[in-house]
């Protein structure tokens, strides 16, 4: 089991060394800024303070536009 993270460019990151963590911590672990991403789980937006656990799949949306 692991936490799967789908990045805006379609890449998938796997976090398999923790059982649960806050979304903000997850972003930090991936070297990303909370300011620059919105996170969804099962199609619903969640906040930086929400907790994700092993088996969850989250999708990241980029706040920073590339134009």
């Amino acid at each position: 089991m692991a936490i799967k993270v789908k990045l805006p460019n379609g890449d998938l990151k796997i976090i398999d060394d923790v059982n649960e963590m806050k979304v903000g911590e997850l972003l930090e672990k991936l070297g990303l800024l909370r300011e620059e991403y919105i996170v969804t789980k099962d199609g619903y937006v969640i906040t930086d303070e929400d907790v994700v656990v092993n088996g969850d799949e989250v999708v990241l949306y980029a706040v920073v536009s590339g134009g």
Partner: protein, 311 residues
Amino acid sequence: MVKCSFCERSAVYLSRASNIAYCKKHFLRYFDRKVRKVIRKYGMFRGKEHIIVAVSGGKDSLSLLHYLSRLSEKVSTWKISALLINEGISGYREVTIKDFLKVVNKLGVDYSIASFKEEFGATLDDMVKIGNERGLPYLPCSYCGVFRRYLLNKVAREMGGTVLATAHNLDDMIQTFMMNLLRNNWERIARLGPVSGVIRHPKFVRRVKPFYKIREKETTLYAILNNLYPSFVECPYAQLNVRWIIRRQLNQLEEKNPGIKYSMLNALLTILPLLREKYAEEEFLTCQICGEPSTHTICRACLFRKELGLL
């Protein structure tokens, strides 16, 4: 699960600056109130308006088009149209045009697409290539910014627009503020108000920024919650711009000091009246070549066209 500060629902947004959590319903209400307040405070729209929304196909401008289109349903004397500028950036703009068309068709909004190729005889990609071959010192964003602003004004006027609404948000404003501060360019800073400030010319379409006090994270969330979030695609030239670095640094600052972006915007709003006083007398001239508004006898777009051999 983080709960909304106003009801029992799950939060979708946590404002670290104010420590308030919002569910979808209360976030959209907060967003709406915040934008309306800006529109009202700065007198952005009058009783009868043909509002041209500058839309790139990105999340911010699609959100603005959606927001104003909804708002205009309550004001029968407002007409909303969308205007997209196709710079001609291979692998980028064709993707955002698809997202643009999807939304304008869904909203039933009239639209126009103007292109660099048709207006100036070359795409942005062509201009960058020619500029490099001729050894010109400009970055792609320099051509893009000048020609895009030129076309937005010209085509908005030709469409019969009485006001041009752009989706510049709080983050855009403080980035531009910082960029011009670093260049000691106070005259440019004087133009960074929520409504176009010191520019006076009969051919200039008044510009307004209804998202002036909305953070980019909030416009993004508005787009996601309204199913407007477009395909993820990045302009190939964006990382060449100093804005890219400043944006990252401001985001890092905000991460460690929540609320610092609001402070910066307030700093800009504090200095603006003083700058407007200093630059108030400036009248725009008319470009001797193309007849469009200009700060000089020949406008920047015509100067670029000359240097690129397009005139």
